[in-house]
Symmetry: D2
């Protein structure tokens, strides 16, 4: 199902980087959810480029909810959010049509859509489409909070610098909940920023690792085959541009552990069943086990750099170079954090709907 | 969609570890595909435990195709494959019902299915269900080969020992195509086996990393949002029991690279557009770019070990221990290799169907 | 989604008329439902040909449930039912491959499956596939009854003879619940049987109208657009071979009524909101309104008749005749009644699951 | 799938009668289709109320395509069409919230959405939502015509007056292709209009029957089980407000025919396989047979009439009356004709996409 995702809650994305408006349709929402437009505006603020480590400051994204809300609450009908594209400098990109940028969708979209795809700014493939996705999460995050579920994402590693591990999850989630550059250790954050700026000075870019935690989930969400929690989440997460990997719990480090080291002993804590370690990241057999859901994604260094990149002119078949015009983020990982939180929130709300928990 | 996966080709799994039969239904197959039962039998052979590094030798899986085939070819109607469960020692497991095994689905299934799940041998969550999935691939792999597409998986790392990297893809794929323990460097394979046996002697288990390569895909498969190639594949791959992470191309290593290092320059090679590196693993913007599709998964050390594991008796709430009875694989990664090839083949065939290429 | 139907409960059909086994997979069932094999056997009995008005008596359908049930209750995992094809006289049909029978799927299947479809007895298109569909209903009908929902279908018209209208719904549903020839007025039933036998003596066949009633549904099931109750039911009902039309409530008669005549006034009956007429058949705006859900389908006279039918030999392009060999039902409407009840029960259970009512 | 319909082409509807904008998202369109905005405008014109037999004249629907089109052609990305609601007199309806109108979704929506549905003008259930559906068809109808497929709908019966039968399909389809009141026999059309006006003078309304014909389809579209052509079309058609029945070919009249009368003999016509009658309406075994696809729907008399209708005040539980304020169509069947053509076009395009024919 192309540009629609979800089982109980579906989100449909539409729009292009340089079209008049982009947007999404959320369908399956419970009726009666309070809609907090300031919450949506704040999420869009967290997603926007922020100063020196990102592209030059742009204005806030205005947005309009054109359906599915009445008297401040969801009606249960499809909720459509529209975001106008206010800055459209199409001229910057039209000349790229024949010289696909390495690491972008230019060439693959050209083939798939037989030359008809809108090439301006990546068209429908643009990271700009994560704005309506983020706005959509502004509808469900308050509902998750009301159900005792909290979602947060931090920059666990960037440009070779690692943040400290999560410690007190509750306090750590609170600390990053409204951060434009979400790290747990401010000093490490400063090191990351310096490394990003150093790359920017070189006309280059850097990558990073994002770690998401979801607390408060009940046990038993997900399905044994195919619609595992890991499968549903990863399906969504690879839509975040630049994400090239995802791991749950101890992830790839499990390859070098023994079973006796990687186990998560089960214990009773009051009346609750818990595990005393969390190598499985809160998922057993594809289902949540009520421990914190923990996963990491890798965000590749953005391929849009000032250095010339080798490509081919599709019209002539000759070698050519592309150079990114304008200003670009030297690292998109910090901005991708709120997108990852948003994407996770949509999947988690869907899982809870399926289990009749929201 | 619970136990059904796929868009153009769907696979539906059913059965339990200790039920009379397990099976799958494949729907959407092109009519007229030759059905080679020996091919299916061989895939099931590769999946079976094989000697010292796995559980004690068992008999081959018999199987029956009960629909969708006439006169040796697919008809286009749903194809159902049934595999009887010949060895059922239910007694081994019934006592586990109240003492969930750490790292397994016992507890999460207990919650999800309110105590009604079949607890014998993991029930519907059993890795045994990968047998019909593997058999299903026996239908589509010959069709992929006829379309010039080859799929192979090797054990890239196991018990701390790394195989050599892929070199000549064509020769390397041929070398592992019929291997029970698929590694490129036999000496490294021996080291892995030794390490597995050492863990087994300790009553313990080890994990590993599987690497899959798909050659011969056209450009433009996949979708920009949600149904990216990475998203569809990962959704499927997390159904392979014990898989806890997936990464494409350079994967998590991209976190520490700069954009100028991680780029995949585009070049013309004869009339064909290629990239001269493959950090993106054959996928740009969620779509195939006609370079080899490359990804790795991590397989956790199996939690079924001879050492006692701490758990809770759900009936009494008291601490308890579970000990794996019978014989168990000290490492399931080698057997999971053919399952990963099978799972990949099903997704790839679906993608090619959608693009009208098979 | 080809041979799979449903949103919350899915049913997947597989098999061919002359293959070894036919069957279905039910997925999404609540765990813990009691499974009554005698109930399934009885539904299959009602579906079987019964004497003079149908084909010659055949043996009961044996069936096996091979997954999804443990200790007499559903586990919540996919439930697969298999029914062996015991009588397979393939020779009867092979010669039909090149001379498609008018009114059957022979020609259209030939085109769709490029000549690879199994032509024996209609292959996958055979009405025989309604046996597993009927068996599947044996799982959900007891759950519906437990939820206060009753489903029944009667032969409202056959061979030009009309049954009396429904009067006391509860008594009428009880009266037809176990009838092989379900009519409300036995005298009219005898007239129908006579008319069927008269047609049979002429080597001909007759059609009929089936009316289904569902009592006990809550208000609010269904969706406003696309997944209306009428849309979901009709989608399923046209899978019953020979059904060519469906109408809800007053149906086509509404064309000649005025709004003031066709209205369903709303009233309070105790604490309950009811309508004092039911021209809308229990559905308003695509949603149930808690009044009885009432609809009728038309079942065409079976095209399999002893009289020769004009066709074309696909191999030579020459005009030809086909004559139905063996014995055939002169009217399939009576047997289709239980199939319609079964199909309805599956859709209704799905709707109730979606509304969290079962 | 709630407000989304389709397999290869999906359409998602959103909006409410009195919200700021309504619209739809079309996904799965082939890239490169010419987009003719005048065609869309003309379809919307045909759907609008037209003079004496409908509500008072309103202004044309403006519309905007905000995505999926570049340089006048579809890009293959989701195409979103927005239509502003220019006339919103919310006050007219707010007082209806507690007194549900008989025959409308007011009560059922109230229950389903727990009192949160937008009650103004029917909210999301409003027939107004057929405007974006009709606009969507403006994208695919030219593509169907380019593939040799023509779709048309006429008013076969209205207020007890029958139009003449179809004769020369090609000429008849041409005659009704741009008609606001699509009948084949103008004299019968005048009788219908008179009868509609007579009902209007009485403060009452009338119903009708719409007949749709699709010419030029290839054989083999559709699926044997569940996704039959009849099943897919009827699923969509019941979304047209007021449709309560659908019949294919000879439809309900088949109940009284014998098999020898209802058969469609197969013949060769040049190199083409045809049937010399069309009682099956172009569908055998759920698949198209390349004969004209023919079906009829019944449109109930609109329940919105000037005469007072009996209802219940949900706040007090007391009997009450509702009277339709403002002006209303005394018969919506003529306007529903273009909606039925549009709905059919979307399903047919989906079927052709699946068969790789567009």
């Amino acid at each position: 199902m192309r540009n629609t995702f979800g089982t109980n809650l579906t989100v449909t994305l539409f729009g292009e980087s340089h079209g008049p408006e982009i947007g999404c349709v959320l369908d399956g929402l419970a009726p009666g959810l309070p809609v907090d437009e300031a919450k949506i505006a704040n999420l869009l603020r967290l997603r926007r480029p922020a100063g020196a480590t990102a592209t030059a400051r742009v204005e806030p994204d205005p947005f309009r909810i054109v359906s599915g809300v009445w008297q401040g609450r969801t009606t249960g009908a499809p909720l459509c959010i529209l975001i106008p594209n206010t800055e459209q400098k199409s001229g910057d990109y039209v000349n790229l049509k024949n010289t696909p940028r390495p690491g972008h969708a230019d060439y693959t979209a050209y083939v798939k859509y037989r030359g008809y795809a809108d090439p301006r700014g990546g068209g429908h493939f643009s990271g700009r489409l994560t704005a309506p996705l983020t706005a959509a999460a502004g509808i469900v995050l308050p509902a998750l909070e009301a159900a005792g579920v909290r979602v947060g994402t931090r920059l666990a590693r960037c440009a070779g610098v690692a943040d400290r591990p999560f410690a007190d999850l509750s306090a750590d989630l609170a600390a990053i909940s409204d951060a434009v550059f979400p790290v747990l250790d401010p000093a490490r954050g400063e090191e990351m920023r310096s490394a990003i700026l150093a790359a920017a000075r070189d006309g280059d870019s850097v990558g990073g690792i994002l770690e998401t935690v979801v607390c408060g989930l009940p046990a038993g969400l997900g399905e044994p085959w195919f619609d595992t929690v890991e499968g549903q989440l990863s399906h969504m997460l690879f839509s975040i541009p630049a994400v090239k990997g995802v791991e749950f719990g101890a992830g790839f480090a499990l390859a070098d552990l023994r079973g006796s080291e990687a186990g998560d002993p089960i214990a009773a804590d009051g009346g609750r069943i818990v595990t005393t370690a969390n190598h499985n990241g809160g998922v057993n057999g594809g289902l949540t086990n009520a421990m914190p859901l923990v996963f990491r994604t890798v965000v590749k260094p953005t391929p849009t750099i000032r250095k010339p990149c080798q490509t081919v002119d599709l019209a002539t078949g000759q070698a050519a170079f592309v150079v990114a015009g304008g200003r670009h983020d030297p690292c998109i990982a910090p901005r991708a954090a709120i997108v990852q939180t948003a994407a996770t929130a949509l999947v988690v709300y869907d899982l809870l709907l399926g289990a009749r928990r929201v």
